[in-house]
Symmetry: C2
Subunit: 110 residues, 2 copies
Amino acid sequence: MAITKVSEFSSKERKIAMLCKALAHPARIAIINFLIKKRECFCGDVVNELPLSQSTVSQHLKELKNAGLIVGDIDGPRVCYCIDQQTWNEAGAIINLFLSQKSKQAVKPC
Amino acid sequence: MAITKVSEFSSKERKIAMLCKALAHPARIAIINFLIKKRECFCGDVVNELPLSQSTVSQHLKELKNAGLIVGDIDGPRVCYCIDQQTWNEAGAIINLFLSQKSKQAVKPC
DNA sequence: AGTTATTATCGTATATTTGCGATATAGGAT
DNA sequence: ATCCTATATCGCAAATATACGATAATAACT
């Protein structure tokens, strides 16, 4: 079992969930914050910043890249990462649209 | 290994990640959307709506409840669920604040 | 008390995530 | 060519998530 039933949901629902999943670990939140602050930086800078090994950081970067939130630009022996403004803005719009939905207040507390 | 290093990050980072994690599955997005649309409903209504078993739906509801996003009110033999407006609004504010951060455009693409 | 309806929890199987060390890969420097 | 540095990937172990059927718990109704 545990065949993931993800495909049975709408593409909108899957998109929101996919983006949230990419942001569902504190290390990845920290990486995003660091990239926003520094504007751009090398993988090694992130490794120095976080309490995680190089290989683990590389994996987190890969997940953020897969979600399209960041891009890595090869610069000599190093890789320069930064926020992908386009996707970042889109993600913000999509998630915010979802989160800003208001449900009419229920009668009791519920 | 794989002792989760979550505790080494700031409480802000953990909070955002925790909320995103609660929203990191399409079923839970669908549940939230359903609750917003219906304003309130029974667990069974959600089971009828989703392509998942009763026990699986119950687990997803539990996760949303643990994150504080929904509340369940016992009503006879049933449980009436609805969005917790307070927490929902706070979550929206916290996540939106994070997502609306802009990084100065990097020089190249990166 | 017995029955039915609804939901939560338990047990279990499988999949995925997290994390690290070791190794591979690629680019620059000597 | 060799060495060094930076990053990605592989292989593995442990933890967590996903899913379901079976069972327990709770409440209403006979």
